[in-house]
Every structure is written in structure tokens, then in C-alpha cells.
């Protein structure tokens, strides 16, 4: 099951490793486009139903594609750096899209600030760390189940989960995220106004 990423067949391995993230990006783009195209439907109830469903799929694709991509790349034998990179592809494409959208109304530097540091973007980017940690544990559990050996609980994934949950608490839960949002605004004011 665990195919090693060896120097013997790099082109083939690399191709295989990037198929999953590539498919995820294509699906994400398709969902983004279909969401926009749905706007041409005049019937109110049909539009509302389809748009809502499309939106849910889009959010799942943006924030949670990691739970598919990470295990696939892991089982294909990709090293940790490649697994992480592959897991971040869809969120980063989304950030890029937001950057392009906002740069239409703000300066490039402001758009960059927004695309990376705004609450929702940070929420998605940081939550990927927790999800990657969780996926790594699940992957190990499966691997151990099939091979009967290998490490399961090591500090790496646990630390990743803990380290990402702390900022998520401030972004999302503490004072309903208001304090965090305020800090971002103050930094923005200091930097740009």
C-alpha cells in the first residue's frame, strides 16, 4: 500500500502525487464557476436551492479538501513536505482568488494583507494545520492496522493540532472573534491609512 517516493521512478511518482491536489483544484474551480453561472437561473426557488447546495460544496472543497488530499498523497508515499504542500493547494488557490478580487478595489499590498491575514482566510489557513495533524494520525492508524507496526502518537501531529487550535480560539471564539478582528483593523489603520 505504502509506495515509496524513490529516485528510481520520480516522474511517475511526482505525477501520481500531484494528481489528487490537481483534481481538487479543478473541482474547486468548477464549483466556483458553477456558482457564478447559476446566477443566470431566473426561477427564484430553483436558484436558491442550487446556489445553497453549490455553496456548501464550495466551502467543503475550500476548507476540507485536505482530508482527502493528505491521506491519498501519504498512502502514495509522498514525503511530509509534499503532503503538506499538496494539502494547502486549494486554500492557497482560494486566497489567490480573493487577492485578485480585492486588488480590484484596493492596492496590491492591502489586497495581500486581506488575502492572508483576514479572519476567514486565517481561519482556513490555520485550520489546515490541525486537519493535517488529524489526518496524519488517521493515516498512521490505518498504516499500523495494515502493517502492524510504526509510530502512532508522536509529538509532531499533537503539537500541530494544539498550536493551531490556540489561534483558532482567538480568531473564532474569544469575544466572538471581535477582539481579533479589531486588532487586524488597528494594524490595517496603522499600515495603510
Amino acid at each position: 500500500m505504502d509506495k515509496s517516493f524513490t529516485a528510481a521512478n520520480p516522474p511517475d511518482s511526482i505525477r501520481r502525487l500531484f494528481v489528487a491536489p490537481l483534481i481538487a483544484v479543478v473541482i474547486w474551480i468548477a464549483l466556483q464557476m458553477s456558482y457564478d453561472l447559476l446566477g443566470y437561473i431566473d426561477n427564484k426557488s430553483i436558484y436558491r436551492t442550487l446556489a445553497a447546495v453549490n455553496w456548501v460544496l464550495l466551502v467543503l472543497s475550500t476548507g476540507f479538501s485536505v482530508v482527502v488530499i493528505y491521506p491519498i498523497t501519504a498512502f502514495m508515499g509522498a514525503p511530509l513536505s509534499i503532503r503538506i504542500l499538496a494539502s494547502y493547494i486549494v486554500p492557497l488557490v482560494w486566497c489567490l482568488k480573493e487577492f485578485i478580487r480585492v486588488s480590484g478595489n484596493h492596492t496590491v499590498v492591502e489586497a495581500l494583507y486581506y488575502a492572508i491575514f483576514e479572519s476567514v482566510q486565517l481561519l482556513v489557513l490555520i485550520s489546515q494545520v490541525a486537519l493535517i495533524g488529524g489526518c496524519e494520525l488517521v493515516y498512521r492508524w490505518f498504516k499500523r492496522k495494515s502493517n502492524g507496526s510504526g509510530p502512532f502518537l508522536t509529538p509532531g501531529p499533537i503539537i500541530a493540532i494544539i498550536l493551531s487550535v490556540i489561534p483558532l480560539y482567538f480568531i473564532l471564539i474569544y469575544e466572538s472573534g471581535h477582539v481579533f478582528s479589531l486588532k487586524l483593523r488597528m494594524i490595517y489603520r496603522y499600515l495603510f491609512l
Partner: protein, 460 residues
């Protein structure tokens, strides 16, 4: 489709407006006289969209007290804010100036204590003055001159919280356990009116509702409106529409229908508080000589043209519920006026009705003549301005011209193209006419108006 705004008409209406200003200043101050100066109760809500009142034709929202107020006063069909964002609009109301003049251009720019408020001028004119409620302008609490009572809050950068909001009462912070903010503020307002009933007073009652998060008071039940349909909302208002393309920061998270009904319940709760104020005026026997104004800082987009929140120059965001009642001084109560009034007109009008001079620095004009049911045209167009805001709210800088017939919008430093809508035909469809023969025909005049307003803006 008829194209009405010709150059000749524009010149004619400009002359008319000029004449209104000149002649208006020569009219005797019949509505006010020394000891009989009217009391003023100015009630400001937050984010109350203009068509969300029973009297404005909403299919199911219940606002019996606002309906009553309109029945006893004048309901303005064409009232607008000049910047549809909380802080700039509030500063415009209290100063009578455009944002580019008072300086509070967005929710991040600080209030300048050098600004003159109509409350300060009323105080100089012999009024007892009270500001109770949401101040919500950036920076430290203002040093407002001429206030006898100043009750406000700074929690959540001045947005306040619906339950247990600490109030700052004449400079001292006081915990308010177990209270709902709209009721709490109304209690203080009633207390102020009771204390000041024997002298002319001006009460500025500024509510937090119906701003998000849409948390309703305990006595407004969750079942209210739960069975109503949201079919009247634009098709774009699907369940999660408040969370796309940067709209997420407007507070319409997850279930749009649920949020919308909460928003409507909040409006009904504000209506209840308006009712309490009106009842108290009756009970004190001062209703006849009290001007009551109800309005809001800006409107609310609920999926209109795919947007939520406010900021955009569309009517759903800029048009205000605007009612004035003044039993002693208003002619033909119960009518509607199509006159175009702005938030910047409130300050000069109140000074005018109190028999006081209107300072030159005010950009607005008095609409006292409208209350007297005189056939004069206040204005035929106005300029809308929106300045750069914090990027989560990714609305570009906007300059717009709104005439009686058309809305022309230019987005500055933006990839968005200009927009032109025929308001008479298309308030909800958002069909951009800019490249149509009709649009091309009207565009030069609208551009000329835009340049005119821009020159004014650039020269303060």
C-alpha cells in the same frame, strides 16, 4: 422610456433650489418663537432599511408605532444618507455636513472634536440637551460641547452589546446587568424627558438595533415571523448568500432566512421603544409641541444585486425610513412627501425649527418648508460618497449621483465599471443602462452633475 433630465430642466431646478434657499431665509420663523420653542425628540436606529415598516408596504413586518407616527406626521419617500456607513452617516446627521467635510470618512477615521454639532447650537439657543445611546465613531469618546446628559457605550468599539451593555453615564462607566440595551436606553430617554419637560429640550436617542448581531429582546418571541415567507427578497438571498465574495463580514452568516427574520424582529422591537417614547410624550402632555423625528443611519442590502450589509450606493443601502411628526407646527399631517431629503438636512432643519441660525458650514438645507406643505423643491439630485474602508468590506470608493429618476455610480480606483440605473423602472432588477441608447442619452448630464459635485467635494 421618457428622458426627462434635460439641461434646461437642470438649470431650472437649480434656480428653484437657489430660490428656495434665498426665499426660505426670508420666511418668518412661524414654527418657533422664544418660550414656545418646540421640544425635539430625535430617534435614530441602526441599519433600518426604508421599506421595512408596515406603512412603507412591507408584506408582513409589524411596526404599529412607526405607522402611527407616519399617520400623524410626514413620511418621506425619498430620504437618503450621503454615505451609507454607520460612523460617517452619524457624523453627517449630527454636524449637517458631508463626510468629506466632517472628516469621519469611514469606520476607522476619528471624530474631530472641533466639529460643531446641532446639539451644541441648540444648547446655545436655550435648549436642554441629551445624547442617549450609540455614538459609534472611532477614537476616544468625544468631547461634545453643550450636552446636559451624555449616556453612551464603548463596548465592541462603540457597537455595544445587546445584553448587559456597560453604559458610560456622564463620563462614568456603569455595569448594566440583566438589561436589554434598547429598553435601557429608552428608560433613560423617558427619564430625561420627565426631567426636562418644562423647558425646551432636545433628546437624541440613538439605538443599537437593528444592527447585527441580530439578538432580539426577551419579549419579542422567536416565533414572531417564523412562518412568514421571504419570497419578497431578491433571488440572490439564498441560504448561505451572506458568506460569499467578502459579504461574510456583514454578519449574515449561515441561514439568511433566519438572520433576516431576526433583523425584522429587531425592527419590531425598536418600534416598541418608539411607542414607549410617544406614549410618554402624551402622558407628559407635551406631544403637541414636540418634534419627533425617526430615522436611521443607513439602509440594508439583503441579497440585492448579490450584496448584503450596506456601503454600496444602491437605494436599498442609502434610502432611509424618515418620519417627522410635529402636531403644532406641521401642516396636513398623515401625508407622504416625495421631496428629496438627506441626513445632512436634519441639523439645519432642527436649528431652523428652533428659530436659530443655520451656520454656513452646514452642507444640508432646512426642510421646514416641506413640513409646512409648501410647494418648493428642496433639490433634484444629490451626491453620494463612499470612502475606502477596511478591506474585509471590499466595497470600492464610490462617487454617485442620485437624481429623482436615475442613479449613476462611478467606482474609483476599481476594476468595477460605472453603473446607471433608471430608478423609476428598476429599483430591484439592477439592469445597467450605461451602454444602452437610453443610458447614453442621459449620461452627459449625469457626468456633468458628477463633476459639479466633485468640484464641491475637492473644495470642501
Amino acid at each position: 422610456m421618457a428622458y426627462k433630465l434635460t439641461r434646461r430642466e437642470l438649470l431650472k431646478s437649480s434656480a428653484k433650489a437657489l430660490a428656495t434657499g434665498v426665499v426660505g431665509s426670508m420666511i418668518p420663523q412661524t414654527l418657533s418663537a422664544g418660550p414656545d420653542q418646540p421640544n425635539i425628540v430625535f430617534i435614530l436606529s441602526d441599519d433600518h432599511r426604508w421599506d421595512h415598516m408596515g406603512v412603507a408596504g412591507h408584506p408582513w413586518i409589524r411596526t404599529p408605532n412607526l405607522d402611527r407616527l407616519a399617520g400623524e406626521g410626514v413620511l418621506f419617500n425619498n430620504a437618503f444618507c450621503t454615505t451609507s456607513l454607520c460612523s460617517p452617516s452619524r457624523a453627517s446627521i449630527i454636524t449637517g455636513q458631508y463626510a468629506h467635510n466632517h472628516g469621519v470618512i469611514n469606520n476607522l477615521s476619528f471624530w474631530d472634536n472641533k466639529n460643531t454639532t446641532f446639539l451644541e447650537l441648540l444648547k446655545k439657543g436655550g435648549y436642554q440637551t441629551g445624547f442617549i445611546g450609540k455614538w459609534h465613531m472611532p477614537g476616544p469618546l468625544p468631547e461634545l460641547r453643550g450636552l446636559d446628559r451624555f449616556i453612551t457605550f464603548t463596548a465592541r468599539t462603540g457597537q455595544g452589546v445587546y445584553h448587559d451593555c456597560p453604559l458610560i453615564i456622564d463620563g462614568e462607566e456603569v455595569e448594566r446587568k440583566g438589561t436589554y440595551i434598547s429598553e435601557d436606553l429608552t428608560d433613560y430617554a423617558i427619564d430625561f424627558m420627565q426631567q426636562q419637560k418644562d423647558s425646551p429640550f432636545c433628546l437624541y436617542l440613538s439605538h443599537k438595533a437593528a444592527h447585527g448581531p441580530f439578538i432580539t429582546p426577551p419579549d419579542v418571541k422567536e416565533e414572531l415571523y417564523s412562518d412568514e415567507s421571504i419570497d419578497h427578497l431578491p433571488k440572490w438571498a439564498h441560504r448561505f448568500a451572506g458568506m460569499v465574495n467578502g459579504e461574510i463580514y456583514g454578519g449574515w452568516l449561515f441561514n439568511v432566512e433566519n438572520k433576516y427574520k431576526r433583523y425584522c424582529r429587531l425592527i419590531t422591537s425598536i418600534d416598541q421603544q418608539v411607542g414607549r417614547v410617544l406614549d410618554e410624550l402624551d402622558r407628559l402632555g407635551i406631544a403637541d409641541n414636540t418634534i419627533v423625528i425617526y430615522t436611521t443611519d443607513n439602509g440594508m442590502l439583503v441579497g440585492d444585486n448579490g450584496h448584503f450589509d450596506k456601503r454600496w450606493a444602491y437605494d436599498q443601502s442609502t434610502r432611509l425610513p424618515f418620519i417627522v411628526r410635529y402636531p403644532r407646527g406641521l401642516r396636513n399631517p398623515g401625508r407622504r412627501s416625495d421631496e428629496m431629503v438627506l441626513n445632512i438636512d436634519i441639523a439645519p432643519t432642527l436649528l431652523d425649527m428652533a428659530g436659530l441660525d443655520i451656520p454656513e458650514g452646514m452642507d444640508g438645507v432646512s426642510f421646514k418648508s416641506v413640513l409646512q406643505d409648501q410647494t418648493r423643491t428642496l433639490r433634484t439630485s444629490f451626491a453620494y460618497e463612499f470612502f475606502q474602508d477596511f478591506p474585509p468590506f471590499t466595497v470600492p470608493e464610490i462617487d454617485a449621483v442620485r437624481t429623482r429618476e436615475y442613479l449613476y455610480i462611478e467606482y474609483n480606483r476599481s476594476r468595477l465599471s460605472p453603473e446607471l440605473f433608471d430608478i423609476r423602472e428598476d429599483l430591484d432588477r439592477f439592469e445597467n443602462l450605461i451602454n444602452t441608447p437610453q443610458g447614453q442619452a442621459i449620461l452627459p448630464e449625469l457626468k456633468r452633475l458628477m463633476e459639479h459635485y466633485r468640484r464641491q467635494k475637492n473644495h470642501g
